[in-house]
Every structure is written in C-alpha cells, then in structure tokens.
C-alpha cells in the first residue's frame, strides 16, 4: 500500500477505537463533523496517534482547518520526520 492508503487505513482504525459510536464507511471526502462521536478532543487524539504511527510531526497550523478525512491525511503526508 502507498503512504496515503496506509495512513487512511491506520486513521480509520484509530477512529474506530476512539469513537464510541459505530462508524459510517469512511472515505477521504468524509466530513469529520459527520463522524458520530468524533468531537474535537478525539480528533486531536487521533491526529497525535497518527503522528506517532508514522513518526512525523505535522504542521500544527493545519489543525484548526481540518474538515475532512483527506485533510488529516494531507497533513500527515506533508509532515516532517520526528526529530
């Protein structure tokens, strides 16, 4: 799998673990606001855990603009290797 595919699968697993409600089928253009149980704090947990999984540091300026699943994946793809 490519990095985006791997990141997508990892993110989906993380969200399943964090959200207490059953998840809909996720796609890159799924709105984060449409994911049941995904509040802001769980979103941040997911991003932080995704950073660790891929050993990157995302540009934190992107955090306030996350709106879709693809935004998270793009932020991770552009992340710097962890120092």
């Amino acid at each position: 799998m490519t990095l985006p595919e791997t990141a997508f699968a990892t993110l989906a697993d993380l969200l399943r673990g964090l959200c207490e409600d059953p998840l809909p089928d996720l796609a890159p253009d799924t709105l984060l606001a449409d994911i049941p149980g995904l509040d802001s704090i769980r979103l941040l947990e997911a991003v932080a855990l995704l950073e660790e999984a891929f050993e990157v540091e995302i540009d934190t300026a992107a955090l306030d603009g996350l709106r879709r699943v693809a935004d998270i994946l793009a932020a991770v793809a552009k992340g710097r290797p962890q120092g």
Partner: protein, 339 residues
C-alpha cells in the same frame, strides 16, 4: 466593499472590476490569507430554515502571476475552514471569515493576483448585525487558562475556539507561568502526568494544568486508565507544539483571565515576559473591575500587553458585550502598536 482579504492580518481591498469579479493583488508567500465578508443567516429572514452563516457565494477562484494562471476547482479538498460544502457542483458559500489554506494557494513567490467570481449575500437576506465582524474578531483569541470562559464567549458569537492546549484545561497563574517559563518542559511525559476520575470522567493532571478527557470512566479499569493516559499524553505533546508555534507566529491573541486580586500589573508583566520567550504574540489580561470602577475598559500596559476589566465572571452566562468590547479594543490597540 462586499469582501476583502486579510493577508497576515493586513487588509487588502479588491480592485475595481467587472460585476461578480473581485481581484486582489498580494505578495506570496504569506502565513495566512483570509477572505472576509459581511454575512447573515437566511433563517433570520423567516423564509428559510437555513441557519448557516453565509457570506460570499463563490463560483470560481484563480491565481495569476504574469502570464501563468492557476485555477482552483471548487471540488478541491483545500476548501476547509470557513467554507460550506459545494452546492449544485457550481458554487460554495463562505461564512464570514474563510481561510485560504495551503491547498488553495499556489506555491509561488512575489506579487500575484487572486481573482474571485463571487456574489455577496442577496439583499433579501440582510446581513446579521455585526455577526460576521464579531465572529472574525473573537476567533483570533485563544485562552491561556484559568477556565473555559473565553470559549463560551467565542461560541456565543459563533466563533470556533482554536484547538488549543487550554481549551479543555484549567490552570492557575502559577501553573501557567511555570509552563511558559520552562517551555512546558515535560508536558506529555507519562511519568509526569496523573490520571484521576472526577464526576465519572477521566482527567489528566500535571504541573501546568488539569485537563478534561471526556472519556467516561465506566468501567474504571487499570487497562482503561493506561490507555486514556497514553492517548492523552500524545495529545498533550501535540498541543504543546501547537501552542509554542502559535506564540511564535504572533497570529493569535492570547488571553489570561483571573479573579485573584493579586493578579496585578507586576504579575501581568511577568506573564508577558514569559510569553515573549517564545514569540511576539500579544497578551490580554482580564480581571474584575474594582467596585465603583467602570468595566469593559482596556489599557496598554506596554506594546503587546493589554489589561482589561469586566464586572463579573460567570461561566456560560458571561457578560458577553463586555468581553466583545475588551477584545475589540485590545485588537485596536495591538494593531496600532504593530503599525
């Protein structure tokens, strides 16, 4: 003008052009480009159930530099903060304050032209009275703790509180000062973080704050505690990085409020000095007005440091007009200082 840009906080008006076309000249790279406009809610007109805050109806967005032109499709996933979903595959609304983020700005340097094909809110939907301005104003502020009163104020004015370290945390002056003076050293280390149960919810604690997790402690097992602690510490490290980056960028206006009578000018100066270790972000200190003194006033303690008073702190029922007034006045003072 029906819209303007804020490029790194500086206002850029559109040049004269054909109807529905707005052209802006600006220089790239820029840290932040926002598209700002009046806005209103159709539901307020009584002819629609649409309660969204609508600003500009955007039909097209393109950049040019010399002969080169870059069109941004409206289907781009770069349309995030401040943009509503695509409608009829032909347009999408902004709210009052939309971010032109990375995916919408070309990787070019120097003078460029941004052209928008857009229509302002139709006249049959009168702009909400100052709603756009209030939301845009309040969205720039970020709490540095005490409690989450600022978040209630921001939500009252339809501004989304930033995802910040102190959005879900309580902290005292001493804790905040220690954090800023040390660069929040050790924040997110599991060895330096406690996890407790309060009101059925796991909470994290450390030298700098106590923080909600919104994870129910039911059932409260050792395994569950360790998992919430692990996740929470990862998030704390991310939020520490974000806070320090925001201070360094200067784009946020940080707020610390305190009802402690000992929170005086010297304490404010010390807090500001600690903040300045990390960057130029301005600081607004809000305290209670002494009896008989007017509330809602702001004074410049020094450039970048402002002190304001309100007549009471009441979580969720705060004196919203006073908060808006002090944030507005502090912004004016800070912009004058920056100029």
């Amino acid at each position: 003008m029906p819209c303007h840009l804020l490029v790194d906080g500086c206002k850029v008006e559109p040049e004269a052009g054909a109807e529905d076309w707005f052209s802006f000249r600006l220089r790239l790279p820029a840290r932040e480009i926002r598209l700002v406009s009046p806005a209103g809610r159709p539901v307020d007109r009584g002819q629609s159930t649409d309660a969204r805050l609508l600003g500009l109806r955007l039909f097209g967005l393109s950049w040019s530099k010399g002969e080169a032109r870059f069109d941004v499709p409206l289907t781009s996933l770069g349309f995030g903060e401040g943009f509503h979903d695509l409608e009829n595959t032909t347009f999408r609304w902004t709210n009052c304050d939309a971010l032109l983020g990375d995916g919408l700005v070309p990787d070019r340097r120097g003078e460029v032209t941004l052209r928008l094909r857009a229509q302002p809110l139709p006249p049959e939907f009168p702009a909400a009275d100052g709603a756009h301005a209030d939301a845009a104003l309040l969205a720039r502020f970020e709490s540095l703790g005490d409690d989450c009163e600022l978040g209630f104020v921001q939500r009252h004015f339809d501004a989304t509180p930033p995802l910040g370290l102190f959005r879900w945390s309580g902290s005292s002056y001493a804790q905040l000062l220690a954090g800023l003076e040390s660069g929040f050293d050790g924040l997110g280390d599991q060895e330096q973080t406690s996890i407790t149960v309060r009101d059925g919810e796991y909470r994290l604690g450390c030298a700098y704050m106590s923080m909600h997790t919104f994870h129910a402690a039911v059932p409260d097992t050792l395994q569950a505690r360790l998992e919430v602690l692990r996740r929470g510490c990862s998030m704390l490290r991310l939020l520490r990085r974000k806070l320090l980056a925001e201070i360094a960028s200067g784009r946020r206006f940080f707020v610390f409020k305190s009802a402690d009578p000992g929170f005086d000018r010297a304490a404010m100066l010390r807090l500001h000095a600690a903040l300045r270790r990390h960057g130029p972000a301005p600081l607004l200190c809000v305290s209670l007005a002494p009896p008989g003194s007017p509330a809602g006033e702001v004074v410049r303690v020094m450039p970048g440091l402002y002190a304001a008073t309100v007549d009471r702190f009441v979580l969720a029922e705060g004196p919203y007009a006073q908060w808006r007034q002090v944030c507005f006045r502090a912004s004016q003072l800070q912009q004058a200082d920056a100029a």
